[in-house]
Symmetry: C2
Subunit: 333 residues, 2 copies
Amino acid sequence: MASSGTESRRVTIHDVARSAGVSRQTVSRALNNKGEIHGSTKQRVLDAALALGYRPSRFARGLVRQDTISVGLVIPDLLNPFFTEVAAAALEAARAHGWHVLVYDTADSAEEERGTLQVIASQVDAVVGYFSRSEDEIEKLTRGLPVVLIDRERRSDRFSAIRIDGEAGVQAAITHLVEKGHRRIGMLDHAGRAEPSVRHAWFAAATAACGLDEGPVCRADQSVEGGESALETLLAEHPDVTAVFTFNDIIAIGALRAARRLGRSVPRDLAVIGFDGLRLGTLVEPPLSTVALDTRGLGALAVEQAARLLTGSGPLTPDELVVRAELRLRESG
Amino acid sequence: MASSGTESRRVTIHDVARSAGVSRQTVSRALNNKGEIHGSTKQRVLDAALALGYRPSRFARGLVRQDTISVGLVIPDLLNPFFTEVAAAALEAARAHGWHVLVYDTADSAEEERGTLQVIASQVDAVVGYFSRSEDEIEKLTRGLPVVLIDRERRSDRFSAIRIDGEAGVQAAITHLVEKGHRRIGMLDHAGRAEPSVRHAWFAAATAACGLDEGPVCRADQSVEGGESALETLLAEHPDVTAVFTFNDIIAIGALRAARRLGRSVPRDLAVIGFDGLRLGTLVEPPLSTVALDTRGLGALAVEQAARLLTGSGPLTPDELVVRAELRLRESG
DNA sequence: TTGAAAGCGGTACCAA
DNA sequence: TTGGTACCGCTTTCAA
């Protein structure tokens, strides 16, 4: 009996109209604060609506005045501070447009990503975010929705993609390390994909440009723990390494911790430079040097492109869809 | 000329139908993979839809099959790691229900909060989150929407509220400090509201229970910098303080930094215990002792209550809507 | 297998 | 100031 009593149908504008003894449009007027309605009538309608617990259907309303825009923001892991920053920036940019943002955390899982992509198409006007699946699949699942990919190499021009250009920043980082006297520089790359990351390519190019031998590379999970164990492995196999560049700041922070545990003083015995420019990097000891990205700019750019795609006003070109990274020296390297 | 060419009206199911030479319901069938349709017809429709760039209106669709549920998650500052954790937990819980989540960051501003509340009602089926405005105002703006308030004392029973009970945890923290020999324990409260926080009340009760004099209190902004300057002020005015309890972990981390700068070794010269139990606390040096909250449980509980409110299946009672905090000793105190 | 018609719950435009 | 009517874009029911 407990759950059967609440078997109530939705309260519609019609119910309110009947209850107040007026027509539907009068109810509409009362609720939307239009003029052209008698004060007492309005009050009566409002009372009826309240008594009935009436709430207008967002679908019906959206159908007739198609003004609200919603975008889907897809993030692999909201707890990763980098994505948190991007998400916050995107939220802010969307708010400036008056848009609503539906956030989906795919938990770094291709399966969740698929599920998200599947349901998202019917809920939003555009999609922005990080994806691991192929463009073909994304295309199939989003069916013509404007999509803005972040930090991905564009294989076709079906989608917009925000490219992260860290080449110069990484070069500056390596040059800096070399000037400090480092000759054996390793890298902690991320372990997500099969191939080495683009950041690794920048690293390799930079060391080569400095005339160094190719440094040793170790794969790390994208977590503090991942960074810790990766650094341990790297140093165990290559004790001569005096500096490391990491795929991102999270991994770098792990490296910092591992270094301390191993009794290596940073930056004296080991220099560490990360990538991303997280605020978090200023809180650790020593503060983390990093190749910093403008995460706010990134989020804003992604939303801006979505806006242009949506309005059909000349979208940004690939040349403009770039966020550059620059070396930010603190104390770790 | 550039922008005028794209003045296109929305492509509707009707356009597709005409283009494919079929009726609208046939288009619907083709797109929704219903049976009862000839293979070739289906293909023709699909082709036409693709060519026209057709995408079904989510409003029209939602109107007829009212199955998707969306909740609004309102957060004061997504970049504050505590709220990030709560948001991530809520997202996860919502996903388990198959719900969509619209996230709003009110930037700690009562004005933004008002704006959010205003637009949110027409977009979601329920609201969950942090609010600073009075229940009257929230009520007025949400008009009957189910609302779950987090970390707020309930003044009426118009809303559900998740209460955070840190009394025992704080008592344990203070007891621990006293056992360590501390006699003069200060607090860094937050500076947001006019009155002292509930956490301060717990602190005061705990020190009193331990037979201590009332410790000095200093207000701090909810940021690392806020914690830094607050600790400096506190120690300048009360140099005899040997331990501090803080409103939250962020402030505590600021205190840690300030202590280092002041040459006070933690925990030897100054013990610090925070509140929240952020993961971040494990990354700082020394790792932060804290009165920890189960943030995942918090997010899940909030969403669970929203679900019950929505389905009308017996909502959780105030007694059940509580998240308790417990002392988690690491190294800072 | 296909199409016609009737809504879903609102709002806008008109006439009363 | 009010109500009638049409219609937003889609899906469902029922008949052809």
